[in-house]
Subunit: 296 residues, 2 copies
């Protein structure tokens, strides 16, 4: 199961970081910038940058997360770049999360499951569960068939995440009710690592909630956004890990893709700056885990 | 504003039906079936079928809804078919709903808004609001700039729709809390028709809830799934209309795309059967509206 492979890769790299390929044109140094503003030329430039970043980080990070939105804006060429980026990362031995947040019901959800769980190089995809189990079981079926996994949106990292997610639904917050369902949906898909193929997205920007969810969901792996650019620090994310240093993978996108712009990485080519940023992130998280008595 | 154009088109056709192009291979008659199972050949066959359906219904229906999932499963070729289908429908004078149910935050949601509100031929897109206003404002911005609109998932038509949506959040159901936000988000974007560019998805399979939402949201246009294949009849959808016969557009996908398989349309080519199914649906809805004293 891919969730076990993710745990193994985190142990091997001692680095629970996910490199977020939310690649925007403004992230590319001059040498990667497109000569013309057509979808195909832009997609080719983004792909070249992604490949160079992947080459530079492939031995230090366990996984990448590729955010579909940035690719879909360039139409079919962008979609090819999205799929090719995931395939390239997979070829390099990285685990791949397709951040698509898809959601629909019945045969439509099955079509999404075919598109991203069954046909693409992704090992995991993100899913929005507002439609209830009807919108989730087609993904569960595909996960059972392929060994791949999903991360269901539970408590998102954004400021207005609580607008609905924090509503009281009778002694529980809505996100806790969703969390409990996520745990139940994943019960049949728990691997040797003790974690299920059905994971949860739990933002780093709400550490008290994350800490409580970590206890509430002992078999649910967390995909953790919000570190760095969104303001959460290493101590905020450390609460999402178990005592073995597993249970979470922390995404960072912009801070890695644009590391070449930062004074501390001056003089480095963008891919090398990205690698240095991943290693700094690894150290930062490692320190925070050590403080909690967790050593790799 | 496109919401006003939708109201005009419904008045002109006297037909509040949306033809759902959730085109699966099993919907295609033998003459449209692909000779080989590659993405590009399949996408070309689906496109040809969609165009023939669009040609056949363009003067009797006001709009089409194109469901992204069925296209995304065929990769970049499918995505091109998705975008080309929407452009073809627009060229024929139809309004176009891109059923993408996208959801994300900040710059990522902005990328989705660029992809589907700004760059595609869609006049409306569907959006999932689990992330709160952060995930909606980029779409509102694009709607304000382009005159296009969104339909936010409020009360979905599927059996497990209530799993989260019906949770009590302090005297209200969650879907009512979402509905109230949808109304508030749309307040600045109300057109001459009295309806806002910010609409709601309200399933026909929960008519009591739909009737109450109709009263609760006087300026919110409904996209109504669940008619036909999912079991809701014309009386169930009639409650979603206002006294002018506006306020809702009712989607039907399978019943139209596969009308050629039904005994009552025997002998018709698939596009003609689709046209006949739309006209039957128009009559069915018209009868139900008449019973409530609404005449076109």
């Amino acid at each position: 199961m891919k969730i076990d492979r993710l745990c193994d890769a985190i142990r091997a790299t001692k680095c629970p970081a996910c490199v977020g390929l939310d690649t925007e044109l403004s992230h590319l140094p001059a040498g990667y910038q497109p000569k013309e503003q057509s979808d195909s030329v832009i997609a080719a430039c983004v792909f070249r940058y992604n490949c160079d970043i992947i080459d530079a980080i492939q031995d230090v990070a366990p996984c990448v997360k590729v955010q579909a939105a940035y690719y879909e804006q360039y139409g079919p060429d962008g979609m090819r770049c999205f799929l090719d980026t995931m395939a390239y990362a997979k070829d390099k031995g990285l685990l791949v999360i397709a951040d698509v947040k898809r959601n629909d019901i019945g045969s439509t959800a099955s079509a999404y499951a075919r598109a991203y769980v069954e046909k693409s190089a992704a090992d995991f995809i993100t899913v929005n569960a507002y439609l209830g189990i009807d919108g989730v079981w087609p993904f569960l079926d595909s996960c059972a068939n392929t060994g791949k996994g999903i991360f269901v949106l539970v408590k998102t990292s954004n400021p207005s995440g609580g607008e609905f997610q924090d509503l009281d639904v009778g002694g529980l917050k809505l996100y806790e009710a969703v969390a409990d369902k996520v745990a139940a949906w994943g019960q049949e898909l728990i691997g040797a690592s003790g974690y299920s193929s059905v994971g949860a997205v739990v933002g780093a920007t709400y550490p008290a909630e994350a800490e409580s969810l970590r206890k509430r969901l002992p078999h649910t792996f967390f995909l953790v956004p919000g570190y760095g650019a969104q303001g959460a620090g290493a101590d905020d994310i450390a609460v999402s890990f178990d005592s073995r240093g597993l249970g979470a993978v922390v995404n960072s996108s912009r801070a890695i893709l644009t590391a070449w712009k930062k004074p501390q990485y001056a003089g480095m080519a963008a891919p090398q700056a990205a690698r240095a940023a991943v290693l700094d992130m690894k150290q930062d998280i490692g320190r925070a885990l050590n403080k909690r008595g967790i050593a790799w």
